[in-house]
C-alpha cells in the first residue's frame, strides 16, 4: 500500500494580514504547515503503523507543490514519520486550483498510489476543493470531510464516517481512493487499520517529531519535479483582482449584571 499525503505551507494564521493592491501580501510572512495537512499526515501514519509491532503496512509519501527552496514543511513531515517526499517546484500562489489538482493527480498516477489523503481545507485560501477535484480527475471514489477511518484490509476498502450538515454519514470506498480529513480525525480512536489493537488510544492531535525523527528526516529521499515533467501546463482561470478587510463590528459594551444585560436585550437591541 502506498499512501500519498498532500501538504501545503501557509502563512502563519496567527499573524495579522497585510493588505496590498489586488490581494494579500505574504512576502514577510512566517510559513507554517496547514493544520489539516498535519492531521492528514497523522492519519496516514496511524494507517501505516502497527502499534506494538514493527511491521509497516504502507509507505507514506508527502507531496507539496511549493518552491523547492521553501520545503521546510516537507522536512517537518518527514521528521514526523513520513517515508519520503515529492516536491513539485512551483509557486502555488501563481497557479490556479485547476492546475494544482492536476499536478497532484499526475503524481498519484506516476507513483501508482493506493490512497490520497488531503486536508479538508487550506487555512489560507479555504477552497475546500482539491481532494474532490483530484478524485474526479483520476476517476476514483472519494470520502471527504472524514471524521473516522476504518481500513478493511481484506476487503481492500475504507469505511469512513464523514461530517455532513445533518450529522454523520457512513461511506465505504474501495481502494484506490481519495480521502480528505476533518478536525476530528485526530481524536484518540478515529483511525483504525485492523492491525493496531482496536483498544489502542492515540494521544489527541498530530504527533510531535522525535529527536531521532528529526535526524533521520535529513536522510530521507525527496524527489523534485517540475510541472512540465508531469505534463501539466499552468492555467490562470482565477485571478484575484481586489481585497478588502471585512466590515468591522462597532464597539460593544460591557454590562455589569444579568439584569442589565436582559434590560439592554429587551429595550435597546429588542431581541428578547
Amino acid at each position: 500500500m502506498k499512501i500519498l499525503v498532500t501538504v501545503k505551507r501557509i502563512p502563519d494564521p496567527d499573524e495579522s494580514l497585510k493588505f496590498a493592491a489586488g490581494g494579500l501580501d505574504y512576502s514577510a510572512s512566517k510559513w507554517v504547515p496547514n493544520a489539516f495537512d498535519e492531521y492528514a499526515v497523522e492519519t496516514a501514519l496511524r494507517l501505516a503503523e502497527v502499534v506494538g509491532g514493527t511491521q509497516r503496512l504502507a509507505e507514506v509519501i508527502v507531496l507539496s507543490i511549493c518552491p523547492e527552496a521553501s520545503r521546510q514543511h516537507v522536512t517537518q513531515f518527514l521528521a514526523m514519520g513520513a517515508d519520503r517526499g515529492v516536491i513539485v517546484d512551483a509557486d502555488p500562489d501563481k497557479l490556479d486550483t485547476v492546475a494544482v489538482s492536476k499536478l497532484i493527480a499526475a503524481v498519484f498516477k506516476k507513483e501508482a498510489c493506493d490512497l490520497l489523503i488531503a486536508g479538508k481545507l487550506s487555512q489560507d485560501n479555504e477552497g475546500s476543493q482539491v481532494a474532490q477535484r483530484v478524485a474526479g480527475i483520476l476517476g476514483l471514489p472519494q470520502a471527504c470531510f472524514a471524521a473516522t477511518i476504518d481500513w478493511d484490509q481484506t476487503g481492500r476498502a475504507l469505511n469512513v464516517t464523514r461530517e455532513v450538515d445533518d450529522g454523520v454519514e457512513t461511506k465505504r470506498v474501495p481502494l484506490p481512493a481519495v480521502v480528505s480529513v476533518d478536525l476530528r480525525i485526530v481524536l484518540p480512536k478515529s483511525v483504525r487499520n485492523g492491525s493496531t489493537p482496536a483498544t489502542h488510544a492515540y494521544n489527541e492531535g498530530p504527533r510531535l517529531a522525535s529527536l531521532k525523527g528529526i535526524t533521520m528526516a535529513k536522510r530521507k529521499p525527496v524527489a523534485v519535479l517540475k510541472p512540465a515533467d508531469l505534463g501539466v501546463a499552468a492555467t490562470a482561470t482565477e485571478q484575484s483582482v481586489g481585497v478588502a478587510a471585512p466590515p468591522k463590528r462597532k464597539a460593544g459594551q460591557k454590562v455589569k449584571t444579568v439584569e442589565e444585560l436582559f434590560d439592554k436585550l429587551t429595550k435597546e437591541a429588542k431581541v428578547l
Binding site: 477552497g127 474532490q132 450538515d165 461511506k171 470506498v173 485571478q239 483582482v241 481585497v243 478588502a244 444579568v258
Partner: protein
C-alpha cells in the same frame, strides 16, 4: 441564451430550504451576465419535488429533472456525473448552489471533470465574472475574477436572502444520465435528531464552549435555547470533547451562522470560531475571563460564570414571558 444552473437538494419531495440563498446568488450572476436562470432537481424520482419547485418558479426560466436510481442516497461520484450530464444537455455555463456539505462534496468533482474553476463560498457577486469570497478565517474578502468557458460556484447561505417564489414554470425532464458510483456504498446519515430549528436558519443561536466542562451542563443552555426558540451551537473544544454532537460546531470548519441573536457562553472567541458567527446581528458574550477575545466582537459582554448568569437570565426571560 446561456444558462446559470442551480443544483437543488430535496428531501421528502420538498426543496430543502438551505438551497434558497444559492438560487438568489445564481439569479444575481444571471442578471449581471444577461444569462437565464434554470434549476436542476436530481434523485431517484425527483418529479414530485420538481413539480412543487416549478410551481414556485423562484425566478427561473425552467426546472430540469434528472432521474436515476443511483442518485439516492447521495454520493459525490454519481452526482458529479449527473451534473456534468445536465450541463451538456442544458448548455449551462455557470453552475452552482448553496455551499452545503452535499454541494461542497460534489461540485468540485464535477468542475474537475469539465476542467473548470470553482469559486467557493461566494459572499457577493461583483459582476458577471467577479465574485467576492472570504479567505483566512474570514479576515479578508477577496475579489476573484474567473476566466473560463464553464465556471462553478458555491454560495454562502448567510450572505444571500432566500429566493422568493414567483411565476410558475414548466418541468423539463432531461434524458437519464449514465452515472457510475464506482462501487462506493453509503449507509445513510446518522442524523442528530432535534426538534429545534436548523442551526444555519435559526433566529437565535446559543453556543457553549469548553468552559461548560461537560455534556450534562449543556442542559441549561438547551433550556435557554428552547425558551428563545433557537438552535444550540458549540465551539470546537466542546464538540471535540464530546459534550455535544460534531454537527453543532460553529466556525471556519463548522457551520456558518448569522442569526438575529448569538449568545456565546464560555467560548473564548478563537479566530476560527469568530469566522462562523461574526455576521450575527447582535452578539452576546458571557465569559468569566474579561480578557477573552470574544468580547471584542460582542455587542453586549458580561463577565460572569455561566453557573451564575444563565439560570438568572432564564428566570428573567420566563418572568417576561409569563407577564406578557
Amino acid at each position: 441564451m446561456s444558462t446559470v444552473l442551480v443544483i437543488l437538494e430535496t428531501a421528502g419531495g420538498k426543496l430543502r430550504s438551505h438551497c434558497l440563498p444559492g438560487i438568489t446568488c445564481a439569479a444575481q450572476i444571471a442578471a449581471a451576465s444577461g444569462k437565464q436562470l434554470a434549476l436542476l432537481v436530481l434523485g431517484a424520482d425527483p418529479s414530485s419535488a420538481a413539480t412543487a419547485i416549478a410551481a414556485a418558479g423562484y425566478g427561473a426560466a425552467a426546472v430540469h429533472t434528472l432521474a436515476a436510481p443511483t442518485l439516492e442516497p447521495f454520493t459525490a461520484e454519481a452526482w458529479a456525473d449527473a451534473i456534468v450530464h445536465a450541463i451538456k444537455l442544458t448548455g449551462a455555463t455557470v453552475i452552482g448552489g448553496s455551499a452545503s456539505s452535499t454541494l461542497r462534496d460534489a461540485l468540485p468533482r464535477a468542475a474537475a471533470l469539465l476542467d473548470a474553476p470553482l469559486v467557493s463560498d461566494v459572499v457577493a457577486v461583483k459582476s458577471a465574472d467577479t465574485f467576492t469570497r472570504p479567505v483566512s478565517s474570514g479576515r479578508a474578502l477577496l475579489d476573484v475574477k474567473v476566466a473560463a468557458p464553464v465556471v462553478f460556484f458555491t454560495a454562502r447561505g448567510t450572505e444571500f436572502e432566500p429566493a422568493q417564489g414567483g411565476a410558475a414554470v414548466s418541468v423539463q425532464a432531461l434524458a437519464a444520465p449514465q452515472v457510475n458510483n464506482l462501487g462506493v456504498q453509503v449507509k445513510g446519515v446518522q442524523k442528530t435528531e432535534s426538534s429545534r430549528p436548523a442551526l444555519t436558519e435559526a433566529e437565535v443561536v446559543v453556543s457553549g464552549g469548553r468552559g461548560m466542562r461537560e455534556g450534562a451542563n449543556f442542559k441549561i443552555l438547551e433550556e435557554l435555547t428552547d425558551l428563545l426558540g433557537g438552535a444550540l451551537g458549540a465551539s470546537r473544544a466542546a464538540t471535540d470533547a464530546g459534550m455535544v454532537p460534531a454537527d453543532l460546531q460553529v466556525g471556519q470548519t463548522g457551520k456558518i451562522v448569522a442569526p438575529e441573536l448569538y449568545i456565546a457562553v464560555a467560548v473564548s472567541g478563537a479566530i476560527q470560531h469568530l469566522a462562523g458567527m461574526k455576521g450575527s446581528k447582535v452578539i452576546v458574550a458571557i465569559n468569566k475571563d474579561e480578557e477573552a477575545p470574544i468580547f471584542q466582537v460582542a455587542d453586549y459582554g458580561l463577565v460572569a460564570k455561566w453557573e451564575d448568569a444563565i439560570p438568572r437570565l432564564i428566570d428573567l426571560i420566563k418572568a417576561k414571558k409569563s407577564a406578557s
